[in-house]
Every structure is written in structure tokens, then in C-alpha cells.
């Protein structure tokens, strides 16, 4: 048996991060105590129903355990970065299990592909795991009920679980969960067909709010994030990376660095080969006895770089090129009818170009990881343990494994709390850096990215140019609509030959245009990446919904129509968009469970408008205005109305946001509201200020002084929320609140000032008036 899989090696590891409990620890301790440990997909039935059918292979998804003292432990395999998922998933299990929430313990899982998808990204956690968690809870409950039936020698149908006990219908007998564990553990795991599920009106926890699992630790400073993870005898490292992606170290002199207090060593990290993927950018690491001493040592390095061909990247010139690209025919990705005739012979032709710049994630906690890599005398890696703020511990395994010359499954990847992430922390280049350094130093190494590192070496949100054309008929409605987008693709991070947006990107608010049009053409254009492109909360919806929803507003004004009424007319009849005809992948979700329901999209649009008192806000004095937009994203639906005040000197404030959300079944109402608040702030921040530019391949911004964030003073002031009650399948929430905010804001600025924002950020425009 390989050393890394031995429990002894695990429990004796020299590390001090107190919150970590591994699956192996969990199994060992609770199994040793005679507990019922249920591995959900150990049940053949669950495999068939939940895994094999969907994923086509055996993939256990998670564990629930019950100790003899009745403590229910739920292993959470998704990462907590502020959405409340570490609370939400166990609530679903506990509800179906009839567990007392006060007796539910939550443990964080390490990366393990047998747990199923662990990439906490794409607003997928509830959608992917709601049913699986219910099945797991129902399975454990059924086994406890059967155990009680056996003890009492009655039929299992007479036994039912209620608040952590199993009761007998025909008598006053009852037994606590803990008392049933020994008997239950001897039973066969029931097939899914044998399970019964609580009807919706009997749910106790699903749909009810509860404080975050980690709230007390957060409020007392005890919560452990990646930057706080510690291993005994660890060194602190920072890395000097090439300022341009693809650059390499030609030579370096660390003499002065090594004279600095606390500096232990200086180590070169090689550059990635081929496409960047999740491998390090390369550079020179300084290892010291504290983060500060490492930073001081890094400042003293003398490095000669060969910065490579991406020094040609100047974002201003690149933007001009992108704008030219979208003004030429591109690759047709969706076509209905024929736009060419109507556009050519239009009596009223409206054209507009839109643009949005690169963005950085700038999560409050920068990327951080600590690694402990052990080697034998020959230098071969014998164990590798990484503790990090990661959205995807399986990606940590997959990136670190090959770098260490071991099987990814042998990398023990533990997960801390994440000090926000927004997509950055699903890309574990920083974990690979820590592992490389630990292997070299033969002791644990903690890598901290400074804010400057974070902003200058991100996997940036892409930069996008869009072109729109529509011909309006005599009623002011478009009889043809052409739109084209070009941007460096996320695909380029994985395949250097990628030259054009890839399918899932175009389907984020562009190819999936929801309007009912006789003639439509959607095209993409070529764009070569010169920096690492990544995904950021709501991804390509950020530019594409901005462009589409602002252009729709332009048409409304060109037609002399009310933007709300016009938008609803564009959306057309209540219907399900024909996904097949439009060539849409629907994020892998079935059209039966997750139809593209125009009725729901119109509903949230109307509800937001009603909440806002839209009609009464149409003739506000100059400098004040409201704008509207809607979006379907991550399978959920939003309508936003934003109210702005633009002062005479051009300062924009946002006194009110009204948002209606329909994301189907809701598990944690208060957290959903928190996500809507957060999304409104993030959408506003990015629209108002967000811009990363490049000069000679180097990002011009490096910290919050140059990359501005909202604060309490300029963030949207009042966020009025409406969450549609629905029993539809749960869709995304975390990202769903972002896409329609920015266009509603820009449409409001038009209403307030007459200035049409076609390029973000808003702060670049002079909005002063007299």
C-alpha cells in the first residue's frame, strides 16, 4: 500500500490546522466507534439513479455518518466562499433524514474524485447535489426506520423518523438515532426505488433560513482561510513572477536577498509548458521565516527577464482591433430566418458597437496555499499534502500530481474557507508553486500572493467587443437582428491554438438571445489571447448581457417606446425557447428539468418593474433615471431595475436596485438574498470602475488604488429583493444575480442624462451636465 493512503501517515502528519478532518479520519473514527457510516453511492441503487445515468461512471458523491451518541456528521465536498454552501447541503441531508439540526456536525472533504464533482463553480452546487443529498438523507432515514422495526419486531412501514428519533405508530415506543446505529449498520443499503421522500410541505430546513455554520468562527477571528493555514515548521514564500505571461528568467542575482533578515533560501520555479492551464507562471521564490521577510527578500532580487512575445500586448490597440473584427462578417453560430434582406433594405437601421475591458477577480483573500511534500532518498515524492483556499480540490490533485510525478489521487488536497474567490480559486497554479517549493526545501511551505501578485498575474476576465444591427419595422419592432462578438477565449488557457470564443462562452447571454425575432444572426469573431483568460462570476454574461440589454434599450428609445413594454414585446410570447433549434447546450441540463422559459423571464422582469414603481419613475428630473434589464443565466432568471442619480459634476450614485429572482426551489432564502445583494454590488463595481489594461504585456493596475472597488459609500444603497416562490428544479443563484445589473444601470444613466454607455467602465465617461 502506498504510504499516502495509510491512515497512520495521515493522522501523524505534522500539521496544525485544527479544522481539518479528512474523509479518512472521519471514517476511521466513526467506524471505529461502531457508527453507521453511509457512503451514499455505495448503494447500487444510488449509483444507478444518480451517478451512472448522469455521469456514466461510478462516482461516489458524499457521506453521512451517525455516531452512537446520535451525532450526525455530514461531509461537505463543495467549497465555502461566501455562498453558504457548507450550510445548505447539510441542511438538505438533515431535512430528509429528520435530523435535529443542533446535532448535525459538518466536516469538509478533501479532493477525491469518488465524491463526484467538487468544482465549486458555475453556480452548480445546489443544482448538482440537491437530489443526491435528499437521497442520502432518505437512505439513512430508511435504514434507521428498518433498524427500529427489527428491534421492535414490527413492520418497517409502522416506523417513522421524527426529530432525531424513530417512532412506532402503534405504540409510544421510540428510539434515538444513536441507539439504532449498531443495528442499522448491519442492514443492506436500500435501493433508490425503496426510498420515500418527504413532501415539500413537510420540509423543515429546506427553504428556511439558518445562520452560517461558520458564523461564530468568522465573527471571533477564528475562521481559518488559506492564508491562515499553518503546518509545523513551515516557511513563508512569495514569488517574483514574470510581468508578462510567457516570460522566463534569463538570470538572477540573489546575493542581496540572502543578506536580508529571515531569508532562508531562493528557489527558481519553472514556467509552464504549452498552454498555461493551472501550472505556475514561473519565477523566483523567496523563502523566509515570515511573509514580510519573504516580501523584503523578493524586493531585493535582481532578475533579468526574457519577457517573450506577449510584450506586444497593448490593450488599447487590441480593443481597436477587436472593434474592427466585429465590424466584419464572422463565424455564424446561430441563424434563424435571413437578416440580410431586411438589414439591407431597412427604412430604420440601428447600429451600435459595445465594448467591455478585462477584469481581475481581486478576491479579498489573495490566492494562498501551504504544502508538505515528502521525498525518499532518491528524491521521489512519497507523500504530498496541500491545504489551500481552493474552489476545486480535485483540480489541485490534477495539477499538483503530475508536477510531483505522482498519481493525482495520491495528492491529499484539503480545503480551508475561502476569502471569496469568484472563479480565481478554481485555478490552482498557486498550489503547484507551494508543492514545488516544499519538495525542494524538504519542509512545509506556505505561498502567499500579495495583492500586487493577485491583480498583476490573474486569470483575467476577457475583453469583449460587440457589434449590433437591427432594422425596425413601421411599428418600431426589429424585423432583423444581427449581433457579433469577439474576445479572447477561456479556451486559450487550455489550448494555445484557440482563436475564437468557444461554445459555452457564446451561450452566456449572446447565442441564447431570448427575443422572438423572425430574422436573427449571431456571429463570433477571431481573437488571440495574450494573457491568461479565466472565468469570473457570471463569466461572458458580464459583457454580453450588457451589450444585448443596452442595445434593446437603444431600440426602445429609437422607436419612441417605453423600455419595459418594449423589452416584454421583444421577449415575445410565453414559450420555451427551442434549445435544439438554437443549438444551445443549456449548461448540460435537460430541457425537461430546465427549460428556457420565456414566461418566467418575463415574470421576473414585470415583478422587478412593479416593485420599482416603474411607471411612476418615467418622468424624473434630469440627473435621475431608472433602467431595466433581464437575463437568464445559470438556468435562473433575473429582472433588474436600477435607479441612478447623476450629479451635475457627473458623479453616479445608485440609491435603489430592485431585483426579482426565479431560481426554482430555494434551500437557503437568507443566503439567496445575500447573494443578490452581493451580485448587485459586484455588477455595480465592475460597471462603474472595473478595468484592467495592459501596456507591453504588463497589467497597468496592481492594487485597490488602481483597481477601484466600491465601498459602503458608493455601493448600491438599497437593494429591494423579490425571490419567486417556485417548486421548479433548483438552478444557479450566486452568479445569476450579476448579468442584468450592469445593463439596467447603464440604461438608467441614459434615462438620467441622455448619455448612452457603450463602453465600460462608466467612470471613463464624462457624465457631467448643466
Amino acid at each position: 500500500m502506498n504510504e499516502i493512503t495509510q491512515l497512520s501517515d495521515w493522522t501523524e502528519a505534522n500539521w496544525t490546522w485544527s479544522q481539518a478532518v479528512t474523509r479518512r479520519d472521519f471514517l476511521a473514527t466513526s467506524a471505529a466507534a461502531g457508527s453507521l457510516v453511509l457512503m451514499a453511492s455505495a448503494s447500487e441503487g444510488i449509483q444507478k439513479a444518480e451517478v451512472v445515468e448522469k455521469l456514466g461512471e461510478f462516482q461516489p458523491d458524499f457521506f453521512v455518518g451517525i455516531a452512537p451518541d446520535g451525532t450526525v456528521t455530514v461531509l461537505v465536498h463543495r467549497s465555502e466562499m461566501g455562498t453558504g454552501i457548507r450550510t445548505a447541503l447539510p441542511r438538505v441531508v438533515a431535512d430528509e433524514l429528520e435530523a435535529d439540526w443542533a446535532r448535525v456536525k459538518i466536516e469538509q472533504a478533501p479532493g477525491d474524485k469518488r465524491l463526484g464533482d467538487q468544482n465549486t463553480d458555475g453556480s452548480n452546487s445546489i443544482r448538482f447535489f440537491f437530489d443526491r443529498m435528499r437521497i442520502a438523507g432518505a437512505t439513512a432515514r430508511t435504514m434507521l426506520e428498518r433498524a427500529a422495526a427489527k428491534k421492535w419486531d414490527v413492520d418497517a412501514s409502522e416506523c417513522y423518523a421524527e426529530n432525531h428519533r424513530v417512532k412506532h405508530q402503534g405504540s409510544n415506543r421510540s428510539l434515538g438515532f444513536g441507539q439504532l446505529v449498531e443495528e442499522a449498520a448491519k442492514l443492506e443499503i436500500p435501493a433508490k426505488e425503496e426510498l420515500t421522500f418527504k413532501p415539500r410541505d413537510e420540509w423543515k430546513y429546506i427553504g428556511k433560513s439558518v445562520p452560517l455554520t461558520d458564523l461564530d468562527e468568522i465573527l471571533t477571528g477564528k475562521a481559518v482561510y488559506g492564508i491562515d493555514a499553518r503546518m509545523e515548521n513551515q516557511l513563508y514564500a512569495v514569488v517574483a513572477r514574470p510581468s508578462v505571461v510567457g516570460g522566463v528568467v534569463k538570470s538572477f542575482d540573489a546575493t542581496k536577498t540572502k543578506q536580508k533578515p529571515g531569508v532562508v533560501d531562493v528557489v527558481e520555479i519553472p514556467k509552464f509548458e504549452g498552454a498555461p492551464v493551472f501550472q505556475p507562471l514561473g519565477g523566483i521564490a523567496v523563502l523566509a521565516d515570515s511573509t514580510w521577510n519573504a516580501i523584503q527578500g523578493r524586493d531585493a532580487l535582481e532578475i533579468e527577464w526574457d519577457l517573450g512575445e506577449n510584450t506586444s500586448y497593448n490593450s488599447e490597440a487590441y480593443a481597436e482591433q477587436l472593434k474592427k473584427t466585429v465590424n466584419k462578417p464572422g463565424t455564424v453560430v446561430r441563424e434563424e430566418g435571413d437578416v440580410s434582406g431586411p438589414l439591407e433594405h431597412a427604412t430604420k437601421l440601428i447600429k451600435a458597437d459595445y465594448y467591455s475591458p478585462h477584469l481581475a477577480h481581486a478576491s479579498m483573500e489573495p490566492t494562498c496555499a501551504v504544502a508538505d511534500v515528502k521525498t525518499d532518498a532518491s528524491g521521489k515524492v512519497t507523500s504530498c499534502h496541500v491545504v489551500s483556499a481552493t474552489q476545486n480540490p480535485q483540480a489541485v490533485q490534477q495539477a499538483v500530481g503530475p508536477a510531483m510525478g505522482i498519481d493525482p489521487a495520491e495528492v491529499l488536497a484539503d480545503v480551508t474557507l475561502l476569502g471569496s474567490a469568484f472563479g480565481r480559486k478554481s485555478k490552482p497554479d498557486y498550489c503547484v508553486e507551494a508543492a514545488i517549493l516544499s519538495r525542494k526545501m524538504k519542509r512545509p511551505v506556505h505561498v502567499t500572493w500579495t495583492r500586487e501578485d493577485d491583480v498583476q498575474h490573474d486569470y483575467y476576465h476577457t475583453t469583449t467587443a460587440m457589434h449590433f444591427e437591427a432594422s425596425l419595422d413601421k411599428d418600431g419592432k426589429p424585423d432583423a437582428w444581427l449581433q457579433r462578438a469577439a474576445y479572447p477565449s477561456i479556451g486559450s488557457t487550455f489550448n494555445a491554438d484557440t482563436k475564437e470564443p468557444v461554445g459555452f462562452e457564446m451561450e452566456m447571454g449572446f447565442k441564447d438571445l431570448p427575443f422572438q425575432l423572425k430574422n436573427l444572426r449571431v456571429e463570433s469573431g477571431e481573437a488571440i489571447a495574450h494573457t491568461r483568460i479565466g472565468w469570473l462570476r457570471s463569466v461572458c454574461h458580464i459583457p454580453q448581457n450588457f451589450g444585448v440589454s443596452c442595445f434593446a434599450d437603444e431600440l426602445a428609445h429609437a422607436a419612441g417606446r417605453d423600455p419595459l413594454e418594449y423589452l416584454l414585446e421583444l421577449l415575445g410570447e410565453d414559450r420555451h425557447l427551442d434549445l435544439k433549434k438554437a443549438g444551445l447546450g443549456n449548461r448540460g441540463a435537460s430541457a425537461d428539468d430546465y427549460p428556457f422559459d420565456i414566461g418566467r423571464l418575463k415574470n421576473v422582469t414585470r415583478r422587478a418593474a412593479e416593485m420599482a414603481g416603474w411607471a411612476k419613475k418615467q418622468n424624473l428630473p434630469k440627473g435621475r433615471g431608472v433602467g431595466i434589464a433581464c437575463a437568464r443565466s445559470f438556468l435562473g432568471y433575473t429582472g433588474h431595475v436600477v435607479e441612478v442619480e447623476v450629479s451635475k459634476d457627473g458623479t453616479v450614485t445608485i440609491p435603489n436596485v430592485w431585483v426579482s429572482l426565479d431560481s426554482g426551489t430555494i434551500v437557503s432564502p437568507n443566503r439567496v438574498r445575500a447573494q443578490l445583494e452581493g451580485a448587485a454590488n459586484m455588477g455595480a463595481t465592475q460597471a462603474l470602475y472595473g478595468e484592467i489594461t495592459f501596456t507591453d504585456g504588463v497589467a497597468d493596475q496592481s492594487n485597490y488604488d488602481g483597481y477601484q472597488m466600491t465601498t459602503l459609500a458608493d455601493a448600491p444603497r438599497n437593494i429591494h429583493m423579490d425571490v419567486v416562490e417556485s417548486d421548479a428544479a433548483p438552478s444557479g443563484v450566486g452568479e445569476t444575480g450579476v448579468p442584468s445589473l450592469a445593463p439596467a444601470l447603464c440604461n438608467a444613466i441614459y434615462a438620467a442624462t441622455g448619455t448612452r454607455i457603450r463602453e465600460l467602465p462608466i467612470s471613463k465617461h464624462d457624465l457631467s451636465w448643466s
Binding site: T83, T220, M364, T450, A674, N681, M682, D705, L712
Partner: protein, 152 residues
């Protein structure tokens, strides 16, 4: 021997260079990781502590500038999370990821000490901390709740 007083206790920091920012002394030398790094240039407020009761950004406060002053971190704001600000933060379920909230609470508690009836304008000018999760509406509400308790 060079010492600093943190949360009522003396700590020997003789081995630490005097120009080292207090933030890293707290986190890496004393193991008080409740105080967070966010920017290193006093732009985000994540590292806010109290020095003699006043809010200060520990990322730009050199160890040598602390002298005999009393430093209070989140670990010392209360023993058990019972400071009115912590209670109000809990009541309003303020945190999302929680990372910036320590700095937010240290800033708010220092403000409320000198002004227990802050107006919206006071809150807006004093609370310049960055929260990427966008918890600002709840922070505003929680400060008002905490202020009420502190008035009694």
C-alpha cells in the same frame, strides 16, 4: 527586550525587525491570524486593529511605531463574541465569505466608541473598508443595531 502589548498581554518581539508591519507580527510571529491581509497599502481595511482604542491599519503600522501602546485585535475585542458589534453582525447575518468582516468590525467598534449615534453620512465616511462580497447594506444595518445597544 522589545515587547508589544496585544490584547492585554506582553509579547517578546525582540527577533523582529522594527520596520516590520504590525500585521505580519500579529499573524506570523504571534499566530494571531484573525487580523487579515488585503492590500498592504491601507486601501481595504481588512487589517484594521485598535491601537489605544483607535482604529489603525496594521499593514502600514511599523512595529517600532507601536511602542507602549495597547493593541487590540479581533481575538481581544471580546472573549466570546459578545461585543455589541459582533452581536449585531450575527443578528443581521452580515458575513458572506467573512474574510473582511474582522476589519469591518474593528473599524465599526472604534467608530462607535467615539460616536455611538452615527448618521448615515458618518458611517459612509468612516467605514471605507472594502467588501468584495457586497455585504454593505447589512453592515450599515448592523452598525445601527450595535449603536443602539451601545447607547444603553
Amino acid at each position: 527586550m522589545t515587547t508589544i502589548r496585544v490584547n492585554g498581554q506582553e509579547h517578546d518581539v525582540s527577533g523582529v525587525a522594527p520596520e516590520t508591519p504590525l500585521l505580519w507580527v500579529l499573524r506570523d510571529t504571534l499566530g494571531l491570524t484573525g487580523t487579515k491581509y488585503g492590500c498592504g497599502i491601507s486601501m481595504c481595511g481588512a487589517c484594521t486593529v485598535h491601537i489605544d482604542g483607535e482604529s489603525a491599519q496594521s499593514c502600514i503600522t511599523a512595529l517600532s511605531d507601536v511602542g507602549d501602546s495597547e493593541v487590540t485585535t479581533i481575538e481581544g475585542l471580546s472573549e466570546d463574541g459578545s461585543h455589541p458589534v459582533q452581536k449585531a453582525w450575527k443578528e443581521h447575518d452580515v458575513p458572506q465569505c467573512g474574510y473582511c468582516q474582522v476589519g469591518q468590525m474593528m473599524m465599526a467598534s472604534a467608530m462607535l466608541k467615539s460616536n455611538n449615534d452615527p448618521s448615515d453620512e458618518d458611517i459612509e465616511s468612516e467605514m471605507w473598508n472594502i467588501c468584495r462580497c457586497g455585504t454593505y447594506p447589512r453592515i450599515r444595518a448592523a452598525i445601527k443595531t450595535a449603536a443602539k445597544e451601545m447607547q444603553n
